[in-house]
Symmetry: C2
Subunit: 363 residues, 2 copies
């Protein structure tokens, strides 16, 4: 069942984005038994978790997201656990959400869809849409990186460039009448797919104290939190990890808005996320906090990640920037175990990456 | 123990490339018991297979290759099983070989290495070398794609461009005195890492009738064959799959050399592989064959793979080109199960991919 996050109104499980009252919906499901009983351990990919993600196997897309590996490093007496989400078929963690969304769209016989995105969600939808024979309209801000635009064209998406910022792009997409709007900012099935991130991480690395999550629209934070909460209810973990929501300076929704703009964080440059109340609730319930990082901090963190061999895009570096900032303030207890997801591939924007990192270009 | 593939001379397990007689070496190991007893199922990544790949856990690189997913599609009554090797940390299957190689180099305290490569093996070594604090010299042909050169620079490899073809580049690298030469054409530890490809595929998809493998230097074919042979000896599979070695027109080592050159297959443009005798033996023992594909066939196959949502580079399309060619000749029995590895990521050469695929540029 779908339930409104604001008025509590409920709906059957059809593909829909918002309640009549306008607020986002969530999928409400109850599981009894043990976590292990829900696993299909014969699968070594996301299908391992399908009984907890819902839907019918016949509708799942052919391209299967892998289990992404976890890389453990000890940094300043802290155990950091990097989860390599950028090794997904479309190059970002969004594939988890898209995979479940597409299954639902197919079940509901929806074949033409519309999405606005700064890039990664669009590429993910375009890839899965192409593979499953759907028509995909993508609205992106004109300033989206050349690499990402290229991939959208290669993936045969119908690209609508908007001469405005991320929020204006969102409005244009929602107004467009050429297909079903599937915004991941609202889409409850998308969040349901992201839950797999938490299950998988738990199977790979066990319990943790903190999870540092890039937070724009909040899909990763909310999906991961939902997964961790379920693991807690199953009795698998003693407590949900404290969530540290990382925001980009100049685009903060959870903190006072900074004056300078962090232009290296296009993936989270979303100052007005529709699920803001839920994000705040999740952070508070987990005992976490929000933190903002500047462009300079992101740049430094990005260079360090690449030196470690992580070929990620710059938005992904915001979480490591936050980690370093908090380390410098002695925020973490010695020996803490910290999840740091690396969300997006740097290979999509190789040209720009090269110019910025090697050439000292100041974007 | 290491054993010469030609004169049979043996050596202890140190890092070395060739026998005194000049021929390549192989690792000889014997396993008794069951395949399952060797698995470390607590790991959901390549470490699952380490007891069969050898070496000491303390030396393994921090960046862990994932288990790559298998996508099943029915094409003309044939079950095709695409294994997405391009979702590796450096964007190609080479990471399997590099991972085990680096572990051995660390064990032997080797810190400065030299490699020649058309791109992917170099990027893999540069990434793991950077992450593990090694100095990496890379020899590449001058005509290597811009995207691949960019990544090598981002990964801080010391790049030596050779004004010549793939074979001349190999000679220059072997002559260079600035570090230990680690050519994957010879390196027995590299093959040992590739074995994991076969184990993993078997766990994911079970038995198959054919495996269509891109074959230049033969590392994937020989590594996969070794893995399948071991599975056969363990009693897990009834027979090793028939190996179909795919070569690029104009660069054939196993077939009469074509007159035109397939310029879309730089990854397998290796007409004189040092392990040629072993390649022939593996193909014959498996009951397989070799086949060559043209540039045009590769281009058509590449476009089709991308339409299926596989963002691969053009060399990876040679296997699908071979599949289509054999389908058109009714080569496969109805209902056959066929492994088609997709070896390298297309994201590394996005610019070129765009120009060729979208613009109709004839390279």
């Amino acid at each position: 069942m779908l339930r409104c996050t604001s008025c509590g109104n409920t709906y059957p499980e059809k593909f829909m984005l918002r309640c009549k009252c306008g607020a986002p919906l969530n999928l409400i499901r109850h599981y009894s038994g043990k976590f292990k009983d829900f696993l299909r351990t014969q699968f070594l990919d996301i299908r391992r978790y399908l009984p907890l993600l819902g839907g019918d196997l016949q509708f799942y897309p052919q391209i299967v997201p892998p289990l992404t590996p976890v890389v453990e490093k000890k940094i300043h007496n802290i155990i950091t656990l990097f989860k390599l989400e950028y090794l997904m078929p479309s190059g970002s963690f969004k594939d988890r959400g898209t995979y479940i969304t597409i299954a639902k769209l197919k079940e509901d016989k929806i074949k033409e869809v519309v999405l606005d995105s700064s890039g990664n969600a669009a590429i993910s939808l375009a890839l899965y849409g192409l593979s499953e024979g759907m028509k995909v309209h993508i609205f992106i801000p004109k300033h989206t990186s050349k690499g990402k635009k290229r991939i959208l064209k290669i993936l045969k998406a119908i690209v609508h460039e908007v001469d405005g910022d991320r929020m204006e792009t969102h409005i244009k997409a929602e107004e467009f009448k050429g297909g079903v709007y599937v915004s991941h900012w609202y889409n409850p099935y998308f969040l349901e797919g992201i839950k797999s991130f938490a299950y998988e991480f738990f199977e790979e690395a066990g319990e943790i104290d903190y999870a540092i999550i890039p937070t724009g629209s909040g899909t990763m934070l909310l999906g991961a939190y939902k997964g961790f909460e379920e693991l807690y209810k199953f009795g698998e973990i003693k407590t949900t990890p404290r969530l540290i929501a990382v925001q980009a300076e100049g685009y903060e929704s959870l903190l006072p808005m900074g004056k300078r703009k962090n232009r290296l964080a296009e993936g989270i440059a979303i100052p007005y996320p529709p699920r803001k109340e839920e994000i705040i609730e999740a952070i508070e319930k987990s005992g976490g906090m929000a933190i903002s990082v500047s462009e300079e901090e992101t740049m430094n963190a990005w260079k360090k990640l690449i030196s470690m061999g992580f070929l990620v895009e710059s938005t992904s570096a915001t979480v490591f920037a936050a980690f370093e900032k908090l380390i410098s303030k002695d925020y973490f207890e010695k020996g803490s175990r910290i999840l740091i997801p690396l969300t997006g591939s740097g290979l999509k924007n190789l040209g720009e990456m090269m110019e910025i990192i090697m050439g000292g270009k100041t974007i």
